[in-house]
Every structure is written in C-alpha cells, then in structure tokens.
Symmetry: C2
C-alpha cells in the first residue's frame, strides 16, 4: 500500500509535492524538499489548515448587482519544512554530488511519507539520509519530520539548520481561472521567538483577522546540541553533533499548528501541545497512526486482483480522501484537498456528489460531519439566496470556505443552482444508508426544506409543466440555459425525497410540527408535490434521448475529432462564447443525471443518451471520466468502463490534466472509489435499501469491498464467475442484486455473475 518513485526528476518537483503531501483533514503539508528546491526549479512550498482562510476584495471592471465583493482563500501558513543538513561541512544538496539511491514513498498503511536517499557528496562522503513525515490522524495539529543520518564512509561534524519561516505568500496565476489570480500576501507574522526549547510563531491573516500559531520543538536524545536564532519573521534551530561512520543518528522535528477558528488561545495551546506531543516517543505515534489506518482500511479498502496499478490507484484515492476530509463541522473537503492551492481551498458541489459517498459507505460519521458543515452555513446560503433576488429559501454558494459565495464568474458559478439539490441528495442518501433520522430532524430537514423552497421562486409553470430557466448545469461549457435536464431531474427527486423524509419525521415524531419547526405549510408541501410530479424534462423524440437543456440539441456540434490535442482543455484555448454556442461538453451532465436518478427511465434511453453525449464530451473536467466509467458499466460495457476508469485512476498519478502540481483532483479520487462500488458493482442507494448490479472487466480477476449499511458491515466480492455477499452477523440485511432481493447474513450468498446486467 505504497506510492513510490525511485528517481529524482527536477521537472516533477512540484507535481510530487502534491502527490506525496501528508494531511489529516485538518492540516496538510506539501512534500517540498526539506533542503529547498534547487534554484530555478518550479516548487510550490505550502502548508495549509483546512478552512483557515483570509478574505480579499474581488476586482471587477464592470461590477453588476449582487456580485460578491469579497472572496476567501486558504492560507499558506508558516513554513516548517526547512531542514538543511551540513555533513562534514558539506551542504546536503541532491543536485550536487551523486545520488546512489533515491526513493520517495507514501506509505499508506503507516501514514508516512518517507524520502530515502544515499548521497555521495562532491568530496566523496557517502551518507544514507531518511526524511520521514507524518501528519497525525490522532492529534490533528501535529506534523512531524523525522530525520535519520547514517554516514557510510566518514566521520565528522553534523550541523542541521531547522527553520520556521513566517514570510509566506500564497501562489497565483492571472491567466489560469482554476488558480488564484495573483500571488497574495495574506499572512502577517505578529509574534515570533523561542524559549531555548521551542520555536514559536503567531501570525494573523491580513483581512479576516484570524490567527494561526505554530510551535516547533526538536528531540534527538543526546546526539545534538541546540542553538536558536529568532527574528520577527523567522526562527531557526541549529542542531550540532558529531557523526561516526556506520552509526545512525536521528532527530525529530515536532510541529504543531493551531488556529483561532478552532482553538481559543492559539499560541499557548500550540506551545503546550508540541511539548506534550514530544514527550511521547515518535515510534509510539507511528504505532497510533498505523492503528488508526488499520481501522480505516478495514472499513473501506477495495481489493482488486489482477491489476496491481489499479489497486495502487484505488488505495491512493481512498487515502487522499481521508487526508482531505475536514471532520470538525466548520471545514469540508476542498477541490484539491489539503494538497495545494488550486481553487483557493474552496468547497464545491463535488464534495457531496463525488466525495461524500466514499465516507457514507465506509465511515458514515465523517459523512455526517461533512453535512454538518453545510448545516453550519445554511444561514449564509439564505443570505446568498436574497442576494440573488429570492425572497425565501437558501441557495448554497458555488464555491466557498465559510459559506459566502466566492465565485466571481457567475455563468459557471452562482448560476449552478443544482448545488442545492446535490447537497439535498447527500442529506437524503445519508439517511437512506445510515437510518440516522435524528440528524434529519435536527439538521438535515432544515437543509432540505430551505433548499427545496428556493425552487418555488426560481421556476414557473407553463402549460402544466414546471420550468426552470436561466441556470447552469454541471457541464460548464454550456451556461445560462433553460431547463437543464440534470437540474430539473435533480429538483424532482430533491422535492420528492424532502416530502418523503418530512412524512417520515411526522410519523416517527408525531409531536413535531413541520410548519412550526421548518416553516413548511400544507400549501408549500403540496407545491413541492406538484412540482416534483410535473417538472419539465426536455426529451428529444427524434433522437430518443434527453436533451441537456432546451436549446442544446439545436446547436452546431463541435467537430472534436478534427481538433488537435493542443486545443484542449478548451477553456484554456477558446473564448467561452466558442463552446457556449456549440454542442460540446466539458463533463457529464445528462449522463450524470442518469447515474444519480435512473428510476423510471428506460435502459435504451439511458444508453442512447450516453452514446450521444459521449461523442461530444472532451472530459476537460476531472469530474468527467469517472462518471462515464460508472455509466459505461451501467449500460453493460465493462471494458469501456475500465478504459475510463484507468483514466480516472491515473489522472493525478500520471498528471493527465497537467495541473496536479496545484493539488490533487479530490473529486476524481471519490470517482476512483465510486468507479468500483457504483460503477462495476453497480451499487445504487435507494430509500428502501441498497441495490447492486455487478459486472467485471475481463482483465480484472476479482474485486471486493466492505460496506456499512444501517450499522451493519457487508462484504461484497465479485469474480469473473460469481457475486458473493456476506454480512457481519446472523440478522438478515436485505440487498437487491440484479433486481432480486436477498436477505444477506453472515452465511455468504453467492450467485452467478451477469456481466451485462442491464442490456
């Protein structure tokens, strides 16, 4: 369960900083070289705390009413990665001398990133050096760097300069809409010093006034003597000792971050915490980390046999999701997790649609935390709805940290009203899987009702159909349309499930008044019902497919096959008007709709819709291949599904989008999990339980994974011949397999595989 690179590639420094980052949902540190990147080599040095942000004004040359005035950005916090080694007087620089051995490893069972180097210095000193990093899953404020040094052929002085640097900027690029538009100074160090044991630093965000503290201490047994230097923006500790040929010496750099959004007194907490952490031997921390991950993998690991690279990929996906997921109710999962600054640490709809399902089916308590984050920002969503002219209801922001809309380009930002139904979908499936009705009563129903209510104001009736104009669907290459199929179909289920869960609440809690608790009147209840039944779904009779929106199918088709690779992604090479006016998709839209909501839709329509949109989709969005993979499995084409799945699995590991250096594509990580569970295994979550329609490509021997459902643990295994289901106890759990209901118990049920279950 390791990601490994065994060569140094200066062109991949920034990419690997992302791939090998360590994070725990609270803090994330990019895998920047401790000694610093070589001069002229692209590196994005960064460490981040989830949801720790600064604000900055958004500049518009032409500002229209209701445009957000302020954006939020995750903050690159004090840099503690610096550890410079002077070995027998020679500075350790991998670019000087000779690398006899070089290996970067992300050990996902141990929860460590390890860089192991055998370096021969220009003067011939050979030294084995290991850097071992951990972002603790147990104490989330803790990040450690553990360095061991083994002189192979020399003895002499060792000097180590370990830094804490507060002079930090955020990254930016004015020409890439996926990054911040400029490199910003958003943090100011207000206190910095040392007490001869700890280095500490307190910084303040320039605008939002939040504080972050960082305390650092070192342990090394008696191997090294320590000396500190401090100035207002930087602290260094110099460790001096004597190396003996063949004898390993080591030290641990303990770093604790605290922030004012989560810690009442940041600096004193950080100092106390780093002190107490360092009192426990690092090996004990490693044991705790491993124990935590042992539980994690036990509850979630997908086992794929016959394709080792897929196993590595799906492990990496699950692990980075874990690394990314905020679990404190004020943070969530950013588009890049905690691995980089792409999309400025913002949360989007893909948290709910692409990432939450992994947690829902393996660690439902984390899924709940993610939904609690949305509940915590419901008031902001109400305000956002007012800003967009809606007198009632809530509209979740397209991109945000605190709940305020941070999208400055509304045609593919705030206009994506579907986010409301996406969040509602997550709330509902959370209940369907967990049965946690208390959450629905206390928080979920508030989200459901307020987001559902918005649709009453957005749409309108025409000829007995409910129509929703002037919104943008998931496909951002087509903006501001009428009756986006995905949106309208989502609304249908959003309202239907809201009514269903409200009905259930009334049944289970008869004393609960929907009107008093959620302001849900009978009239509104009936309107929800009426709209849910009669929302307009654009269908093209000639083609026999659903239309992405009212006008999509009458546009000119973009001639994708004739275009060279350099034209993609279109958004970086064409003015938006070019793709807005043509039939071309950045990502799945109608196809995604059929993944989420397939009830009552004919298989032939699903297939034709898939075929039609597949031909005009560029997959310029990382959210696309995994959906096409899952839906290829759905229409009975497991080999095609595998081909898309390979793309998804390798998207970051092989940098297929070309921008992994700015961070992992976290939604695609969710998609890599879903590609097995919802794709090949055909899982669907329904109000009445889970259903499965497994298939398997020829080149995979078998796959298997655990699921949590209503407190039970279920295990599925699919081979080329059979599908086996087993629960964790004798009480039966009903599961639907190929349309038949099976009571699953601890006695495994095996039935023959049907590799084209829907054809």
């Amino acid at each position: 369960m390791k990601l490994t690179r065994t060569w140094l590639d200066l062109n991949e420094i920034a990419l690997r900083e992302t791939l090998f980052h360590v994070a725990n949902g609270y803090l994330g540190v990019r895998a920047c070289p401790e000694e610093g990147a070589p001069e002229g080599v692209h590196s994005i040095r960064g460490a981040y705390l989830n949801a720790f942000y600064d604000t900055y004004p958004i500049q518009y040359a032409e500002k229209l009413h209701g445009f957000p005035m302020e954006s939020e950005t995750i903050v690159n916090v004090a840099d503690v990665q610096g550890v410079k080694l002077f070995l027998g007087g020679e500075w350790f620089d991998p670019c000087a001398g000779t690398l006899n051995s070089f290996e970067q490893t992300l050990d996902m069972a141990a929860g460590q990133y390890i860089r192991h180097i055998v370096w021969r210095s220009p003067k011939g000193r050979e030294t084995e050096i290991t850097f071992r990093r951990m972002a603790s899953f147990v104490t989330k404020e803790l990040f450690t760097v553990h360095v061991t040094i083994l002189p192979k052929n020399w003895s002499g002085d060792i000097r180590i300069v370990s830094g804490q640097n507060g002079d930090i900027r955020n990254d930016g690029d004015p020409n890439d809409p996926r990054k911040a538009s400029e490199a910003k100074h958003v943090l100011r160090t207000v206190e910095s010093g040392n007490n001869e044991q700890h280095m500490y630093m307190q910084s303040e965000t320039i605008s939002s006034g939040h504080t972050v503290a960082c305390a650092v201490t070192h342990t090394s047994g008696d191997a090294f003597s320590l000396e500190f230097h401090s100035n207002p923006i930087e602290n260094t500790a110099t460790l001096s000792g004597r190396a003996k040929k063949g004898i390993e010496s080591s030290f641990v750099k303990w770093c604790v971050y605290t922030d004012s959004r989560r810690h009442p007194s940041t600096l004193s907490t950080a100092v106390q915490l780093v002190k107490s952490c360092a009192e426990t031997p690092i090996e004990t921390w490693y044991d705790k980390q491993r124990a935590f991950l042992n539980e994690f993998w036990g509850a979630s690991r997908v086992i794929l046999r016959g394709q080792p690279s897929l196993q590595a990929g799906v492990d990496y996906a699950a692990y980075t999701l874990l690394q990314s997921a905020g679990q404190d109710g004020i943070s969530s999962i950013a588009a890049k997790g905690l691995s980089g600054e792409g999309y400025e640490g913002h949360y989007f709809w893909d948290t709910e649609i692409y990432m939450l399902p992994f947690f829902l089916l393996t660690h439902p308590q984390t899924a709940r935390k993610l939904l609690e984050y949305r509940y915590a920002t419901l008031e902001a969503a109400k305000r956002h709805a007012r800003t967009l002219g809606h007198p009632t209801g809530a509209l979740y922001p397209w991109r945000t940290i605190t709940g305020n809309e941070c999208s400055s380009y509304f045609p593919s930002g705030s206009a994506q009203y579907h986010i409301n139904s996406d969040i509602a979908h997550a709330v509902c499936t959370y209940y369907f899987v967990t049965g946690d009705l208390e959450f629905i009563r206390d928080k979920g129903a508030d989200i459901l009702v307020e987001t559902a209510r918005l649709w009453l104001d957005v749409g309108h009736w025409l000829d007995g159909q409910y129509r929703i104009d002037g919104v943008t669907g998931p496909d951002e290459y087509t903006c501001l349309v009428n009756n986006n199929y995905y949106t309208n179909l989502s609304v249908k289920y959003h309202l239907q499930y809201t009514l269903y869960l409200c009905g259930l609440l009334q049944q289970v809690y008869p004393e609960l008044s929907l009107e008093k608790r959620y302001g849900l009147s009978d009239k509104e209840f009936k309107e929800f019902e009426n709209i849910s039944r009669n929302v307009y779904l654009p269908y093209d009779e000639t083609l026999g497919i659903y239309a992405q929106d009212d006008s999509f199918l009458s546009k000119q088709k973009m001639d994708l096959p004739s275009m060279s690779r350099e034209c993609f992604p279109l958004l970086l090479h064409y003015h938006p008007l070019v793709f807005y006016r043509q039939q071309v998709c950045k990502q799945a839209d109608a196809v995604l709709a059929h993944f989420l909501y397939e009830d009552g839709i004919d298989d032939a329509v699903i297939r034709r819709t898939y075929d039609y949109y597949e031909a005009i989709t560029t997959h310029d969005s990382s959210l696309s291949p995994c959906v096409f993979s899952m839906m290829a499995a759905r229409i009975g084409e497991p080999e095609k599904a595998l081909s898309y799945y390979m793309h998804s699995i390798h998207l970051d590991l092989e940098d297929k989008q070309g921008n992994t250096e700015d961070g992992i594509h976290a939604a695609n990580m969710g998609g890599s999990y879903m590609g097995i569970v919802f794709g090949f295994a055909g899982l669907r979550i329904r109000p009445d339980g889970l259903s499965l329609r497994p298939c398997i490509p020829h080149s995979i021997d078998s796959y298997a994974f655990p699921l949590r459902y209503r407190g039970r643990r279920i295990h599925l295994e699919v081979t080329q011949k059979t599908v086996t289901l087993q629960a964790d106890g004798p009480e039966p759990v009903n599961m639907t397999l190929y349309g038949m209901v099976y009571p699953v118990t601890d006695q495994a049920v095996s039935i023959p595989l049907d590799n084209h279950p829907s054809v």
Copy 2:
C-alpha cells in the same frame, strides 16, 4: 436657441456641469464653476480630448481565455477652468454674500456657455460678472474663458488668479458598471512652466505613453498687469488691476490643447497656436463661431411649432451631437460625447444606429468621418474576431477607443455580435443617402465584406435554416441566447446589402475584382445569398409576433406593474440572473429590428410585436424611449409616440436616468432627432430612395426640417392638415410619400396628412 437656468442649485452642480459643457468634437470642457465647487458639493471637474486615452489592466478574479487584458479610458486632461476673482479684497464665492441675479445659458446659435451673475459681497460690494466660454468649432484646439467684471457700487483693486492644474484624476465608482471602477491617476505632468506670457504644461499618460500639451495665455488690453507662478504640476497667472465703479473690465483666457495622437509636436504647437489665436480679437472668434453654427442650423434644424419645450429639446439634441462628434477619422462619438467620463469615453454600436443618422441626413461629410473611424479600426476588429475563435472575418469590439475590445463582461459586451451588422447598416445607408460609391469601393466594402464574412463562422445550418447561437441582442436583460431576432434580421440585410453594393461596384467599376480586392469568392458570394434568404427568424404562431430569441417567450414574465419605482433600473437592484431568466427588456430589441428592417413584415405583426414587448420593457436604457416613440408613430399612434418622445427629449434636461452628471446620453440625443424625422415624419432610407409616412400629434402645430439627399437639399413641413415637400432646384428628386412616388422639385408639393398612415 438657448438652454437657460436662472437659479443656483448646489445639488445640481454636477448635473449642470454636464448640461452646459462646451465641446467641438475634439475637446470638451465640463461647465465647472471657475471659482471651484463649494466645499462638500458634488462636482466632477473635467476636460477631455476625444479619443485621447490611457490604457490600464483589467482585473479578473477568474479570467477566461480571450478576455481582454487591457481597457482604455478617456483622460481627464489639465484643468484650465480655474479663475478666482478677488474683488476689492473679497474672494468671489457665490455661496457667500447674496446673488442678486444668476443665470447659466448655453447659447446654441452663438456657440457659447455664459454664466452671468450679479453678486453682492458679504461687505456689500455689488459686481456684475460674466463668464463666457467657447470651444471653437473653427479651431478645434481652442477653448476660451472670457470674463467681464462690472463694479456696480464700488471701486478698488481686482486680483484674478487664473490656473492651469496638472494634478488630475479620472472619476470612478466601483459599484456602478456604467462608470470606471475606480478613480484612476492616468496622467503625469512632465513639463510645466511659463515664459512670462504663456503658461504651458506637457503631460503623459501613465501607460499608453501619449502626450498632451496645454498652453494658456491671457489678453486684457492694458487693464491688468500679469504675474506668473509655476511649479511642476501647476501654473498660475495673477492679473492685477484697478476697478472703477460703473466701468467694465474684461480679460480672455485662451487655452489650447494638442495631443500626440493628432499633433506631431504637441507642446510647441500648443504654444504657437495659443499665441496666434490670441492675436485675433475674441469678438472675431465669436463671429466665426456664429457663422459656423449658422450653416449648421441651416442644414439641420428641426422646427417644431406649438411646443416650445420640444423645440428647446430637439435643438439641444442636435447641438450636443455636433459637440460630440469626432471628425478626424481616429475619433468617433462616445456614449457621453465629450461631456463626462461615463462609459470611459468609449464608442459603442449606438454611434452608428442612433447618432450617425443625424449627420447622414444633415452633414454627410461628418457621417463619412465616423465611418472612416471604423475603417481605421478594421484590422483591430479582425484581431478581435480571432480572439473570439473565428478564423476569418472581423468582429467590431463592443466598447473601445482605439479599436481594441474594452468590455470586461462579455455576456452584455463582446457577445453583442449585432454591432457588426449595425456598422454595416450605417455603411449601406450612407451610400443610399449620399450615393458616394467611391467611399464604398475604397473603404466601405472592406468593412461590409469582413463583417459579413464573420457570420459564416458564427452560425450554422439546421433543417435548411441558418441559425446563429450564443449571442446577445441589443436588450441586455437577456444574454447569450440563440437566434436573437434582431441579430438574425440584421444579418439578413447585412448580407443582402453587401451583395447589392458589391454588385453595384462590379457594374460601375468593371475592372474591379471582388475576389482580388476584398477576397470575396463566388462561393462566399453564394453563401451570403443563401444565408440572407434562409436565416432563421423566430416567430410565435400563437401570439403572432416575432420572438426576441428562441427561448424568450417561454420564460416567466416579470411582474413589472407590481414593482415599486425603487426597483429600477433593474441592473442596479437585481442580480443579472433575475432578469436573464424572466421576460423583461431593458430596451427595444425586436421593436428596434422592425424600425430598421420592416420590408415584407405585415403591419399587424409589427403592431402585435410592439404591443407585446412594450408591456415588458422597463426602458432602463436611455436607448429605449426614442425607439418606442418612433415605432408608436409607425403603428399609427402619434399621441403615444409623443409621450415617449417627451421622455426622450427630457431625459438629460430633467435628469430622468439620474446619472446625467456623468455625461449626456448621446444616443438619446440622436434619438431625439430621429423621433421627429424617422418617428413622426416616418422617414425610411432604402436602396431606391427615401420614403416618408408623416403623422403629427394633436398638440404640435407643425414640424419641419431640411434633409440632404444625393447632394440635394429637401425640405419637409408637416402641419395638422398637410405634408409639404420641396427641393432646392428644378431637377426632380423622387420621394416616396405614403407609398406613392413624387418627383419633388423647387415647386412645393403638398398633399393631405394621413395621421394613421399604417393602420
């Protein structure tokens, strides 16, 4: 022919600075008080040179491909308005002491703005003071301030401090999309001084590197002694003299501006020119000004009898158009003329559609200059087309000074492709009115072919119809639509007229090869023909009207009657998504289409279309009322036409949009002229001549105006009973009147009025 205000209103200082500005198409000076605006009173001190601009970077938080990186702004140049009077030791301040008389007058026959004040100082000195300003139409670099001082009841010292200030900023407001987003420093003074006769100043724009010079001198006979003070950003001349009770003294401040876009050596030219100007007595200049205007009014004045306020309004409209129109081929008419900084001095489509017709019918040489400006920017329009993804053709920018696109919000900016056909319309009607085929051959056809060619790449064929998707029509409350009726209908005529004129060129100049000269192949020629015949025009059978676009009529209607006045203009009170998704119009769109292109459209359809859109139009754009006025006349409702016309006439004079302080609405000035000529008189310009369908509201006794047509002068008079046409010579000119062709000669033709000509 005067605009007069006879009271001082501190709340109207900025408004009147606009209304009483003096300009000559090259330079414009707002009517700011010479003594400075009182402390705390809103004033926008400004002077501008047409097309003299600076560039600045456009900031985007999310920049997409092809968005313009740089905008242009007109530059507020050195301020020469300052003239402070110290009368017997008391500073002249209208807010101190008593105003026994106060009058501001724009004398449109004399070409002067006069402020006449009888002021009693706090200490009881009564003085009659006259400030007389002129922007010379004869020597366009020249601006004069002529001050006369008559002590009524005192004798004593007079001291006058006359300034030239180079420390200037442009105006701005981050919350109003109609203004620059911030107050910018775009000019830096590089040289400043005096030679004991002249004060001079040379300044440089910060980014574009253009220079502007300003030279000032004073003449006063022997009445005053002169003293100069100079510093790097300011010069002052102090005039000292002795006043005698009952004896008038006066001086003239002569100011000349030159700029590097038009003058090879700015500073020396300015100094020489101001010297030579001042050698001619000011009265002679006034005579020249009057003679110029005498010719102007003779060729253009509309005479309205029975409604003095309308006469004043239509005079003001014609005069401000004259003041605004650049005539040097590198400038045009900005949205605010030279009266203010609204829309940053940019040129839009409304120059061609709303303003050029006035010049075309009265001073065709100016119309030609305006078209030459477009010809001069054709290469930039080709580059702009490439930026928007079109391999061939030209796309004129939505807003510009030099020809580069300056619109940072493309949904109601660059997406308004109709500007191509609007400019083509002006080129064609220029030929239809003047018969100047040489212009078409040398410049016009290049514009026509390059702009027409673009449509081949924008649209596409579907079911035998040519469709144009993903553009925005004139109505900016509905953006990014398919098959905007106005656009498609414009394209039809754009292509048809292009073919017509190309055919004519071949006939008249048989040696001219369309292919060699304009790259127009037979294939392209046929494609133009085919598209022109088969462009899709969305028509709603049920309503019997043309649809603004494919989806417009299926949207919800905005409930305008129930909304309070504070909700308007919608663009300042609602997020654009609110109006984008509803049936509501900022301005005429389909209705404007029927004004420009009515051939073959049934009168009943024109009427129904008018009625339908009238009910959902807010007229939040100043371009709207005049079109509804003209089309009300067209559908036989002269009284309704008058009501809209009154709105148009008073739009700036009564500050109906609330932002006249930022400059006049120049397009509406054109509309005020067109309201008579195209509205009540029903003029239409066709390839085969002019046609008229006059009507008249009851409350107007008569109206009359001159027209130029193919070198001839024609005079039309319409009374409550008759329509009279007369030409300037015995050779007949064919004119169509109520559908009948009359040969008009110097013998007046009179026929009875038909007040509902189209019903």
